[in-house]
Amino acid sequence: MARAVVEVREVTRRFTHGAAEPFTALEKVSLDVGEGEFLAIVGPSGCGKSTLLHIMAGLKRPDSGAILINGAETTGTTPREMGYLFQEDTVLPWYSVERNIALGLEYRGTVAADIRSRIEWALEVSGLTEFRRSYPHQLSGGMRRRVALMMTLVVDPKILLMDEPFGALDTHTKTRLHASLLEIWGKTRQTIVFVTHDLMEAITLSDRIIIMSGRPGRVKASYEISIPRPRDVIRVKDSEEYLEDFREIWRILGEEFV
């Protein structure tokens, strides 16, 4: 594997507030994410995969253990080279599509000319050009997700964390977004950590899948996906490799139901 960009070292996290009784969401979770790797994390709901992503981004602190980004331990703030796509709709309803996409660049003080060219790039690759002056409420759920995706990609993060980003979409819209994501990622090749409960989605997109077990959340297995790239998000589901991977991971996940 390539040089590790994200290292998770024996991270443990307990929840004592809010829950009826304290429980351990993550127990001694360790994993590495290689440079340019597309890693998916799957597992039953409540296995702590979203919590793990929050901790990686510095949004939550671990009770013990550490996160290393490019070899340096994080200190509760999100590193600048990191992007994060939330499960929730984070597009600002009071700004147009264009302005939303420009926000990250604006925050970071990018010069106006560069902002313009980055916006053109983002609108172009996401197919949102004709909606650039629309407001979020005028867009479909899938298009709003595209805007959110471009909001994070436009600042060119070297590490992109995605928390069930397409969970609320129908199959068609989801598949189209998969195609867009793979196309963009094919050129930019950032390191991606993609949390999902959708096994088909994980196999279609990723290089490697971490399978977690629930309560307490632990790493159960790491599974390499052998499907060659570039992948066609529709045809890939018919390939022998896909079916084989699916069967094998399903078997491992299935042990969780017993």
Partner: protein, 277 residues
């Protein structure tokens, strides 16, 4: 288009029917003996109201009985001006207080019981005190309107400020927003959305405050005409003042609603309304 014409025709017909009954039912011989309410002494009549309206609107100078000075428009202006002042002062102060308190938890915690107490007290009960302090002029009316508008706007704005989704804040922070940028691009637009949504209600609250102020301590205004008319048992004057007040209120609240829609064009519930308004 045909449906719209029919609608307007039916509305006009309804008004005509009510006016006709109002004018002619009291003239049925003997009716006031078993139903004194129909006596024009109490309910006046459309023709008298129209004549009085015309008289008060066109005559200038000393009107003696009803108006100490100026015509109807002078009185209307007094009410209108106080209402607009109360609205602007109430909305801006309510917005600022709601914004600041929603962003500083400690201050909100300290002030909470007092805010609840002041809000629970009916504002009308404060009228005598306000008049004692501010006299009978414009000041007292504006202060009263401000007190009512402020709390409506404040509580709504405050609720809005507390309801910002943490994922939106986190997402913008990760994109690189400083505290200042976060305030400017996320918190203020979000909170202002909650404030704008309540503008029509704030306007009608301001009208109430001003009219009540005029009832008790006014020397001018439509509310003042109403109290004078009551003192002289002049129902026609009362109806003229009510009619004028109604027109003022409809126009002001209509303007506030337009303003709200204009400012909140990005809200889904206003899709399509803009073109009709």
């Amino acid at each position: 288009m045909r449906g719209r014409a029919v609608l307007i025709a039916s509305r006009l017909a309804l008004v005509a029917a009510v006016l006709a009954m109002w004018q002619w039912v009291p003239q049925i011989p003997g009716i006031t003996r078993w139903a004194p309410i129909f006596d024009p002494f109490f309910i006046s009549s459309p023709s008298r109201i129209a004549a009085k309206f015309w008289e008060l609107a066109t005559t200038t100078g000393d009107q003696g009985a009803v108006l100490k000075s100026g015509n109807l428009f002078v009185q209307l202006w007094a009410t209108l001006w106080a209402t607009l002042l109360g609205f602007v002062v109430g909305v801006s102060s309510g917005f600022l207080a709601g914004l600041i308190l929603s962003q500083t938890r400690t201050l909100a915690h300290i002030l909470n019981p007092y805010l609840v107490a002041v809000n629970a007290l009916p504002r009308i009960a404060l009228v005598p005190l306000i008049i004692m302090i501010f006299g009978t002029g414009l000041g007292a009316k504006v202060v009263l309107a401000w007190l009512i508008v402020f709390f409506i706007v404040f509580f709504n704005t405050y609720a809005g400020g507390r309801a910002i989704e943490s994922s939106i804040v986190d997402s913008c922070r990760i994109l690189g927003a400083s505290r200042r940028q976060l305030l400017r691009t996320v918190v203020i637009p979000h909170v202002a959305g909650w404030t704008f949504a309540i503008l029509p209600l704030a306007m009608s609250a301001s009208i109430i405050g001003v009219v009540v102020g005029e009832f008790v301590g006014g020397a001018q205004g439509l509310g003042y005409i109403i109290t004078v008319a009551l003192g002289q048992l002049e129902s026609t004057d009362l109806f003229v003042a009510l009619l004028t007040l109604c027109i003022v209120a409809v126009v002001l609240i209509g303007l506030a609603t337009r303003l709200e829609r204009r400012l909140l064009h990005w809200r889904p519930e206003h899709v399509g309304h803009g073109s009709q308004a």
